[in-house]
Symmetry: C2
Subunit: 326 residues, 2 copies
Amino acid sequence: MLPLSILSSGKALPAHRVTSAELDITLAKPSGYVEKRSGIRYRYHAGPDESQSALAARALDDALARGGIDASSIDLLLSAAGVQEQALPSTACRILDLAGLRPGTPGFDISASCVSFLVALEVAAGLLNAGAHRRIAIVASDLASRGIDWGCPEASLIFGDGAAAVVVERGDGTRGIESYRLQTFPEGKAYCEIRAGGTRRNPRVGVDAADFLFRMHGKRVFKLSASVLDGLLAGLLDDAHVTLDDIDTIVPHQASHLGMQHVAARLKVAPERVVDIYATHGNQVAASIPTALHEAFLTGRAQAGQRVMLVGTAAGLTVGGMIIRL
Amino acid sequence: MLPLSILSSGKALPAHRVTSAELDITLAKPSGYVEKRSGIRYRYHAGPDESQSALAARALDDALARGGIDASSIDLLLSAAGVQEQALPSTACRILDLAGLRPGTPGFDISASCVSFLVALEVAAGLLNAGAHRRIAIVASDLASRGIDWGCPEASLIFGDGAAAVVVERGDGTRGIESYRLQTFPEGKAYCEIRAGGTRRNPRVGVDAADFLFRMHGKRVFKLSASVLDGLLAGLLDDAHVTLDDIDTIVPHQASHLGMQHVAARLKVAPERVVDIYATHGNQVAASIPTALHEAFLTGRAQAGQRVMLVGTAAGLTVGGMIIRL
C-alpha cells in the first residue's frame, strides 16, 4: 500500500442552476425531453463573469474550512482540470492567486481529462512519500459549459460545471492507495476532443468557431471503454488482493446516465454501493470524481477504515481506477 | 537523495531554421538588428503542417535510439509542455498515438510553463520510488512560434520551437535528486501569458485574435525573478548539503540573452560551467531545459557521477531548481 491520508474534502458550484425543464424551452424541445434524454434534473453553469480559478479556489476554501486546516500549512497545490483556464500559465497559478496560501507556495497542473483527479492523487502520494512535500491540496475544476455545442444533443445536455478539492498528507501508513491503474488508448484520441486551445488549431495555422466546441463520438467511446474496463477493474482488485465484496463504496466518474448504469451492471453490484450524483450535477469532467467522493464523505458512505474504489473513463481515451483505504 | 537514474536523452527540431538575418528582412529591420536585439543567430520554427506531438514523438524516438531502449519497456509517458497541443484531450495522448509504445501505455500532462520538465522529473522520481512505474519517458515539447506576436520585439524574437525527451528509472539508489525547490508567485500570473485557449477567453464568453498571442512584461518578470532567485539557489545548495563548487554543470532555462547572463553573474560562476544553447535554439519554453541537458550529455559536460543543477524561471510566475547526481 502506498501511504496517503485524505484529511478533508470540499466542493463548489456556480450560482446558476440550469434545470432540464428550462433547457426544454431554450432548445425548443417537448416538455421532459432533456431530462429523459440526459438523465439529469439539473446541472450548474457558470455565468460569463464566473471563472474556473475562482470556482476552484472556493472548493479549496470549503475543504480547508471543513477540515479546520490552516491555509498556510499547504505546501503544494495541484490543479487537476480536464480543460485549463488559459493556454499559459498553468491553471494552478491562477488558483493560487485567489487561494490565500503562503506566498511562494508552488503549484502546477496535472491533466488526464476526466481522470485527472485520480492521477493527481497518485502523483501526490508519490511526492509525499518521497518527502518532497508534507501537505498537498488537489483542486479539480472544469467549466464544461464554455465548450458545449448546443446543436449536438448527445454531447450538450450532459455537462455541468464544478470544482472539488481534497487536502492530503502521507499519514501514518495505515491508510493509502492499495492499487492504481491507468491506461491510454490513443486510437480514441479524437473520440472526445476540443481541437482548439493550443498549437494545433489557432489563428496562425487556421481555426474556426467549431474547433472550440466539445465533440464526442459516444458510441465509439462506449465500445472502446467497454473493451478495456473489465480488465482494468479485475487488475485493480488483483493488485489490491481484494474482491469486490471488500469494497465499501464505488465512486465512478459521472460520465453519463448509461455510463453509470454500465459500471454498476458490469461490476454486478447493488446500485446503492455506487455513488451517483449525476442527476443533480451532470458530467463535471475532472471535477466529477472528487465531487462524488466529497458526497460520499458527507453522507457517511466513505469513512475511516473503509475501502473505496474510484474509477473512470476519459478523453484520450484514458481509463483509470484506484482502490483507497481511507 | 531521491533515487533517479536518467538512462538516455534525445531531442528534435523542426526542419525550418529561421536565421536572425532572415528576420531582419521579414520584419524590415536594419541588417544585424534581430541578432543584436535577441542574442540569437538562428532558431527553428515549425511549418503549418508540423505538429507538436509529432515533434515530441521524434524526440522520444531519438532518446530511445540513443539509449538502445526498447519502446515497449516504457510504462508511462509524461508530457511536459508549456502550451498544449489542444484543449482536450491531453498532449500525452496525442504523443502516445505516434510513439509506438505498448498498447495501453498510460500518459498524462504536467504543466508548469518553462519549468515543466523539472517538475516532471520530480513527479517521475516520486512515482518510480512508490513502485507505481518502472521506466518513464518524459517528453517536453513546445511550438512557441504558433503564438508569437511579431509586433512585439521583446517577446517575438527570442522563441524557438523544439522537443526533448529523457527516459528515467529508479536506478540502484546511487544517483538521483539531491534537492528540488519550486515556488509560485501568482502576483506575476499576467506577466507572461496567452489568455485564450481555455475557459477564460473563448468564443462563448468573448475572445479576440490578440488573446492567442504570447504577451510578456519583461521588466516585471526580471524584477520579480531577481527578487526570489537568490533564495531559491541558496536553498537548493543547502538542501543538497553542497556548495556551488560541488556543481559540475549548470543547465538553466534558456530564457533570454540577458536572463542567461544574469544567472551566471548571480551565481558568480565562469560562463563555461553554464550550458548555453540559446544563440542556436532560442527560448524553447518547456523544451529548453531538457534540450540543454541533452546538449550537456552529448558534449560530455554531464557524465555519470557528476552533479548538475537545473534552474529556471517560468510564467506564473514560477521559479524552480533541482540538483541531480547523475
